[in-house]
């Protein structure tokens, strides 16, 4: 490998470590187990969404509906527990079902109805943003809320459900690692293994690169594509569950930035290890990268708008570095 190859492969990782080193020196309290956990926790929900959208990127698609799936799942969880007064299990199952169904519908629209992916999932996004607010007429869902018909909803978030957002596992230090971080790590490993080391994952890459060739080689291309959207939907709904568990209510104003942040993480993933294609490991690193950046800037008292600015600049610079050097796409 030449120097350039090394730069492409490890440039991003070096940048990441450089960032950590810089913040470690410049920002008090940046280096500590708690701070590390905090970074993971701050990106857990977007990270889970980003991993899901990676699956659709792999088959050459895109899913703009993930943010709204997550918020719909959050509202559904709250509705099931607070209004319908059901337990945590029912709430979780309801959320996962929503994710799977939305994914199926997205996949069906794209595969069988041949609606372009951006379009189908954009429509789905608008639809869900509206739909999730209809049962409560736009109100947030919390114990004791007044329903549109004037009755009062008396159910509450079950403790088991809230534990998903609040329980912390001991890990050397007591009460260190929150459930959401464990969920993120497990899902990241799962989807990474699935995409890289199972034949289904490989086939999904084949579908994404050349659908027709994959089909002629005997792959059930349609099924693969639909599966990708189902994965994306289910992951988004898991993100929604975590969100609901952390908030303890169905809040209509939360989750606005999930889509863009998740997409950013997945796209940054292209640059990791010079992959230049969607990949789960990259996505996870991408999410982490954004988390570290924002945490470091916060600790340095940078105002919110400079955080956006720096995020944009670093993203652009990192990617120019990777793509310009790698020369993918040039012949």
């Amino acid at each position: 490998m030449t120097l350039r190859d090394h730069a492409i492969r490890y440039g991003f990782i070096v940048l990441l470590f450089g960032l950590v080193a810089y913040f470690a020196i410049a920002a008090d309290g940046f280096v500590s187990p708690q701070s590390a956990v905090f970074i993971f926790q701050s990106v857990a929900i977007t990270g889970v969404l980003a991993l899901g959208v990676t699956a659709t990127l792999v088959v050459g698609g895109f899913d703009l509906s993930i943010g709204s799936v997550a918020t719909s799942a959050m509202m559904a969880a709250a509705y099931v527990m607070v209004v319908l007064e059901q337990n945590a299990l029912v709430a979780v199952v309801a959320c996962l079902l929503i994710g799977a169904i939305v994914g199926l519908i997205n996949g069906w629209l794209i595969v069988y109805m041949r609606v372009p992916d951006l379009l189908a999932t954009l429509g789905m996004m608008f639809l869900l943003v509206g739909l999730q607010r209809i049962p409560t007429e736009g109100r947030s869902i919390a114990t004791g809320m007044t329903m549109p018909d004037g009755s009062v909803a008396n159910g509450k978030f079950s403790d088991a459900f809230l534990a998903l957002g609040r329980h912390r596992f001991d890990f050397f230090i007591p009460n260190l690692i929150p459930v959401s971080v464990v969920v993120l790590l497990v899902l990241a490993v799962l989807i990474w293994f699935f995409l890289e080391y199972t034949r289904f994952g490989r086939m999904m890459y084949a579908v994404g690169s050349n659908e027709r060739a994959a089909e002629l080689a005997g792959a059930p291309v349609k099924a693969y594509k639909i599966w990708a959207y189902v994965i994306s939907g289910v992951f988004a709904s898991i993100g929604g569950i975590l969100l609901a568990a952390r908030l303890g209510r169905g809040d209509i104003a939360s989750g606005n930035n999930l889509l863009l942040d998740a997409v950013a993480a997945a796209l940054i993933g292209y640059a990791v290890l010079g992959a230049a294609k969607p990949n789960a490991f990259g996505t996870a690193v991408g999410a982490l990268f954004v988390g570290i950046l924002l945490q470091g800037l916060t600790m340095m008292n940078a105002p919110y708008y400079t955080q956006d600015f720096v995020k944009g600049v670093v993203l652009v610079v990192a990617l120019v570095f990777t793509f310009a050097l790698s020369g993918r796409g040039r012949r």
Binding site: E196, Y197, T198, R199, F200, G201, R202, M203, Y205, A206, G208, S209, N210, R212, A213, A214, E215, L216, A217, G218, A219, P220, K277
Partner: protein, 503 residues
């Protein structure tokens, strides 16, 4: 022979919209036999293949495989039933972003019996076995997108041959292979034939057909127009049946040129290659032949300005010529029919008319506004001129047969007069009569320009050119006037280079 038909089709029909492409085709394939399917461009060969392999839904008719009804709804079903196909479009056969090993085992990944886990080491092992059978020497870790067209073709073929198919269908498999690679393929086909596989082989190359055919089926306009299975096979009859007329074999009259159009001096196109010097004359048709990968495309692209020479000068019509881009080359009157039409030529979103006018927008517009009437007239003229089979100039390119798509590419660049006309593998997938037609058109219109042809098939050079140059190791190694050619010397020059350079 009727008794042991492995595959049988009865009355297959297929229409695209109003356009009936197959009008009741009946076909039998026998175990241990190579059936060659011949037919002019657009006769419906590929359509037939796609029905058999489960890509298209059939309009009407029945099929049977080994005595059972056979009606695949998807390619996967056909493959599972033992009908394996290598399709005409090479890029439908390989996945460009994946490596060679994965491509060689692609079908196993989606098979039902395949292990759940993807073990790169095992896949590479399996891929090596597949490659070895075919005698394929490609780096298994290379990405397909870094391979030449020929190597991609070989990967797709190797994968298909690795199956133990009952029926193997090869749709123009040699269209971008060199003769050495083709020979390897033929040896394998022989082996499969001995093992009792029924093979359907489609080609426009008579040399392939002579080498392989046990039986020839001719097709014309969507129906079977002749079946030839008496030894010795009646090749001429088969060609006549497919064309519906006799083909005339005019011997070409070699011309010499007095006026120099292009003069190349000391041009080096690759590191370590010897420089190239040559001249092309007005009215002359020159063919450059050589094995795959010897630098023919590189030279063509250098002349056309999309690749920079390492050194050397060119003079075009007395003026120094050093194009920086295709645009400059075109402005200077240098046109290139690029090879691999799917990747380098066809704009899929455009219809025939828009594809033809593509390089000449500037000449076909007034104040930047395109003159559509002029576009239409030009397209109609070119369709007429080259005998492109289509409904109208508004047809989508995807609705044309492969050979007709190729003709559109040639028609595009013949729509205006060139000073230097370069054609890189222009006969890819073009049927025998159309090939003669195009060659005749090229020769007839040759005055006023220099014509330079890059072909791997020696026959094509012999049929078309006044002069034949041989290329090896990125340089010109021999020159022959196309009258009483010393074939032995020529072949020796062709083989002079390495037998097969990587990629």
């Amino acid at each position: 022979m009727v008794g042991n038909a492995v595959f049988r089709a009865e009355g297959l029909r297929k229409s695209f919209g109003q356009n009936e492409v197959l009008g009741g085709v009946s076909l039998e394939l026998h175990a241990g036999e190579v059936t060659v399917l011949m037919g002019a461009n657009g006769a419906g060969k590929s359509t037939l293949v796609k029905i058999i392999s489960g890509v298209y839904e059939r309009g009407d008719g029945t099929m049977g495989l080994a005595g059972h009804a056979f009606a695949p709804n998807t390619p996967a079903e056909a493959i599972r039933a033992g009908v394996v196909t290598v399709h005409q479009n090479i890029n439908d056969g390989v996945v460009a972003d994946l490596d060679v090993a994965t491509n060689l085992t692609l079908d196993r990944l989606s098979g039902s019996g395949a292990p759940f886990l993807f073990n790169p080491a095992r896949v590479r092992r399996e891929a090596k076995a597949v490659a070895d059978r075919m005698g394929l020497a490609i780096d298994l870790k290379a990405r397909i997108s870094d391979l030449s067209l020929a190597d991609r073709q070989m990967v797709a073929i190797a994968r298909a041959l690795a199956h133990q198919p009952k029926v193997l269908i090869l749709d123009e498999p040699t269209s971008s292979l060199s003769s050495a690679e083709a020979d390897r393929l033929f040896a394998l086909i022989d082996r499969l034939r001995e093992q009792g596989v029924a093979i359907l082989y489609i080609s426009h190359r008579m040399s392939d057909i002579r080498r392989l055919a046990d039986r020839i089926v001719s097709m014309r306009d969507g129906i079977i127009s002749g079946v030839f299975d008496k030894k010795p096979l009646d090749y001429e009859g088969a060609v006549n049946a497919m064309l519906g007329r006799k083909i005339q074999l005019d011997q070409i009259v070699v011309r010499d040129s007095a006026k120099i159009v292009l003069k190349i001096d000391g041009l080096r196109i690759a590191q370590g290659a010897r420089p190239i010097s040559l001249t092309l004359g007005d009215g002359e048709v020159v063919a450059i032949t050589g094995l795959v990968g010897v630098g023919k495309t590189a030279l063509a692209e250098t002349l056309f300005g999309v690749r920079k020479p390492l050194s050397g000068t060119m003079v075009l019509n007395g003026k120094p010529y050093a194009p920086e881009s295709a645009g400059e080359a075109i402005a200077a009157g240098v046109f290139l029919v690029a090879k691999d039409r799917g990747e380098n030529g066809i704009v899929a979103g455009f219809n025939i008319q828009e594809n033809i006018s593509l390089p000449f927008h500037k000449r076909m517009s007034r104040f930047a506004v395109l003159r559509r009437r002029l576009e239409r007239i030009t397209a109609r003229r070119q369709i007429e001129e080259l005998g492109i089979v289509c409904r109208s100039e508004k047809d989508e390119m995807s609705a044309l047969s492969g050979g007709n798509q190729q003709k559109v590419m040639v028609a595009r660049w013949m729509a205006q007069n060139a000073g230097l006309f370069i054609l890189d593998e222009p006969f890819q997938g073009v049927d025998i009569s159309a090939r003669r037609d195009i060659a005749a058109k090229l020769r007839a219109s040759a005055n006023g320009r220099a014509t330079l042809l890059f072909v791997t098939e020696l026959d094509e050079a012999l049929e078309t050119a006044d002069r034949i140059l041989v290329m090896s190791e990125q340089t010109i190694v021999g020159e022959h006037r196309n009258a009483d050619v010393d074939l032995d010397r020529l072949l020796a020059e062709v083989a002079g280079g390495p037998l097969h350079s990587a990629a």
